[in-house]
Symmetry: D2
Subunit: 352 residues, 4 copies
């Protein structure tokens, strides 16, 4: 940490800062320039972090500058070669394969989820996504099928050789969900729900953590740190669009976040262009962009009949659109040294 | 709801939209202009809200425009004259008095909370604020004293004629907190924690709901709606700064949100310039601005020794700064037809 | 400047950075911590500023941190006691008086500007504002009356004891405007039009420089520096709302920018709540907030018949609303040690 | 245009709105719902645009909703099949080829620009970029070589079979630049410099118009409209990153803007990942993403010795990095039905 003193800071003010740093168990290194003095803080001072931070408003202080990241376990320094997270049944994310999770926003019925599972598996998805507990901004909207939805999701996934990812909204749901899912998803609105993060730190299944809609990358990694500090190192990060002044799209996908996260952290990172755009016809261009930028995977909403979906219909792909997208991604992946496995059952011509 | 068709929309596309609207139990009113056709949707279609929304991505549709608010109970139309929320012991917010809650970020010790309580009561605060459960972005920071903190807070408040407001982070804490607090505060990061909002809908004590750092005012009012839909109408809204490109301050206080909320909703609205600025020397200017813009109250962080605070020291006022601020606010309040009660015990001169 | 090396930076990478710093004519001070090395750059290196900045992407560099402001003349350090800018005929901004400029968005006709000038002078304004050259986002909108507009503006101002402020859009207009105006206004969209800024540096009349809608305060002060570097020290800064995710208002007024600018710079700062909100009924609350936060002045749009204005009608006050606002501001000003001169001609009751 | 009346609007308020609409030469169509009344405005009312807009603040009006775009010539409806802009010597943008412009931020010397021109031509670029007049946020930075820079740029381009694009900052520079350049570039800070836009409307060479850093796509297209309304239809749009809360990158590239612009407008759109990221190691991922999202071209900063560049060194690629990027783009282009011509002279192996 560096304390940047104001140009007109007095000796007494500098001296006060130095004293406080020492009282916090750290050493203070003064560097007196022509214009101003800066004070380097050496030592960890972990117990006194808040007191050091309070110096920001001390008399004569212009600003405090942090030179180290507040996250440790999530940092690439902790695991320089990059983590591969195992999702079960041979599916792993963070390696050369671009792993795609696809499915509806919410599980609505056996027919719906079975149809989606079959089509996305055939197109090359490795995970089935679908919500059983839905966070809706209005209390009057469809809130999900609950445990019955999880049962349907699991069955459809198993019948099609897929693994399952689904959103957990509250610590009380963790136990209910564990028998049904392979990956627990934390939604953007819960990225800083610390009770939930702590609960997930005690689980042995991987967590897919979505970036909050106005979270910095540092804050995203601090939330990952909460989970990892509890002992669960299987964290997958997800860029899903941020809130900006631009309101043509629902969100602005921060594609640059993908290589930035890969620089700062060893954790795999996926992109969710469905929520990132909010419009069906923009999902494919942004999915292609995410893979071209180096994403380890994708989360795509697919519905057999989007116009009758109980949620997110406007951003859900039709099954055939998803299959076409997967074919396009297979062209792009080699440009970033990645691959997407070919369709397991039959060639594209058969989709016709 | 209005469906704005693209200029080049075909008759088949328009016809499809009309059919879908009717299938959703609504009527479609076509208005064909020289340039384009717009389709008005008449009827509630509550059960089919998602299907109507999915028309946003239907072929030939340019956009969907909502003409009514998605919140009802929180709307000013529901209660045109404005709500006054009773906080107990004669304190009420939403009337002519500007009600001020003050205190430390976190309860740290009996000495600390007793000293703050005495000083803020003397300066004219009506509520004592202080956290017992702390949401911290780092898992390694001080997380609060828990129930012991609540006990100390209550005692300090009672000894100084104050009511208590404190933050609840998880549904599991509601029961623990109820005996100690008069107002339950929901932090900005939990504004869309729907489990928590639903739990607070069943409580009979008022809730102070902070705006999320990138929440629109509509989203804030939808979160209030969650609480009110559960039966708890005692909701107080709070502007505490939003996240913008400007990073000199921790947040950008959206002072205009105060009169906007008062136009759209009947609920009282307060401002939190401590979190809104993050810097001690900017708290007073923004507190004055909030009252001048018509805020019903303020939330101010005060600490007897901010440089040794366990959290938020940089944005906490010294006790004498708080007293001076209260005096300035007493000058401003009449300009907006409000008042702040005089100091109960002794005149300002005695502070010297 | 400080170069923060990555945790895994090699000795060769550190050595390369040190070499480059020396080649740029500066000294490099290494500070090797337990975790990482930081390199302090001592010396100005003004000629090599770009080369030093390029180190940001050098191998092993995590980030570059600037510890001094890039502006000098605009800095408070340059003139600690604060500048008072003389606007002619005894009007000065930056002292104890809150100076208000009022008038229409655009000069439309003699009748219109005469009516406004009389009403705002009577209510206590000291400057008449009005555009003769209008920057309009659409090429099909009203573009102003040109020099004829300036003539009308000057005459109306002189007849009512007011000074004149009007917007200059292009260097070619400076000569035309000088005979008519006392203050040259630079609009938000031109804040970084460096040709215009340089032209204004050679003028001897004050410049009112509006903050760009996504400009940081540092960028605003750098634009002021352009004008001042040319020799014109009479710069007045103006907060007029920034662009954020919130789209209920046209802009988000950054009220905190007022005290922040006063801390970083000695230049006076005014607020423009008309553009800052875009809605007539929000102008007064934000004008009051700006004065309560310490603004040195205000810019308010007033029109005798806003519903028939050729521009900005929705955000223009009726004359009587402006007079009421001025009365409210007179109540608030003393809370910040300021004053607004009483109406020169007749008491408020006469407005009835 | 639709006027959405408030729920509690009175008959007198509705009647006033209707009267005003008629006075503006339009018809008013009332639609009375259960909850509220909406008023459709039929007719163009072009002369009364501002008066119609002023209804936004009329009593009883909740909001005004625009249902048609304010731009005409730039709209895709005007030219549904998409425009191809000819840049001379057989280079055209908007067709199947992805056209790449590359070169330094600023022309610095004959040696520098000759070296860059040769390397980027060999790698497959079709245009040479380079600034002769530099908009710098600090008045103390390098401001460009002026006309001499243009001469060097032209010569280097001609020697390597490239066309030239360079930035124009002021109407006074247009005449000087025309003999040297094939495309006139308008920088992000000048996107709403209407004097400049109007001057470029009278030129017969294409204009590359960069999106302002907080401009909406509608505003970008309105600025294109300014140029086109003057008769110059050769406009190329450019996404170069927007300003958001995220400050890890210099800007946030809005990759979704590429397909959005292609939907709303017939004009070609290119991406500038150099300014969009500000960091050398992020340029390639974002360039790949832009092409994968469907960009018609790219603008890439390349410098033979970035660490000694007089500007933008941190975001300039080394020549070999640019050649590798071009190879990767050749893999991606077919996924979007595009192509990039192969290197004209020798195969990649020779770069070694």
């Amino acid at each position: 940490m560096i304390v940047n003193m104001a140009v007109n800071a007095t000796e007494a003010e500098i001296s006060h800062v130095v004293t406080r740093i020492k009282e916090c168990g750290c050493q203070a290194h003064l560097s007196r320039g022509e214009e101003r003095t800066i004070v380097g803080v050496v030592g960890k001072g972990d117990k006194h972090r808040s007191e050091l931070e309070a110096l920001r408003s001390a008399p004569g202080v212009e600003e405090i500058i942090y030179i180290s990241h507040p996250f440790k376990l999530a940092s690439r320094d902790f695991h320089p070669q990059g983590s591969i997270v195992e999702l079960g049944k041979g599916v792993a994310i963070g390696g050369t394969e671009v792993v795609v999770a696809a499915g509806p926003c919410a599980v609505e019925s056996p027919e719906q989820i079975d149809a989606v599972a079959e089509s996305v598996a055939q197109a090359g998805a490795k995970l089935l996504r679908g919500g059983a507990f839905k966070p809706r901004s209005s209390p009057y909207s469809f809130q999900g099928l609950g445990e019955e939805g999880l049962r349907l999701l699991r069955r459809a996934a198993d019948n099609n050789g897929l693994q399952v990812v689904s959103e957990v909204m509250d610590p009380s749901q963790v136990e209910i969900m564990l028998p049904y899912v392979d990956v627990l998803q934390v939604g953007a609105r819960n990225m800083q729900n610390y009770h939930l993060l702590r609960a997930l730190g005690e689980v042995t299944k991987p967590v897919l953590l979505k970036r909050g809609m106005s979270a910095t990358i540092e804050e995203l990694l601090l939330s990952a740190e909460y989970i990892m500090a509890g002992g669960n190192y299987g964290v997958i990060l997800c860029e899903r669009g941020i809130r900006t002044f631009d309101n043509y799209m629902r969100n602005t996908m921060d594609i640059a976040a993908i290589p930035v996260i890969q620089q700062l952290s060893h954790l795999p990172v996926v992109a969710d262009p469905s929520h990132g755009t909010g419009r069906r016809d923009k999902v494919a261009p942004l999915a292609r962009a995410a893979v071209a930028a180096g994403a380890d995977g994708l989360l795509i909403e697919v519905h057999p009949d989007p116009e009758r979906a109980l949620s997110d219909g406007a951003q859900s792909l039709y099954s055939n659109q998803f299959a076409e997208l997967m074919d396009d991604l297979r062209v792009i992946a080699p440009a970033v040294g990645r691959e997407i496995e070919p369709m397991p059952i039959e060639p594209r011509a058969a989709r016709g």
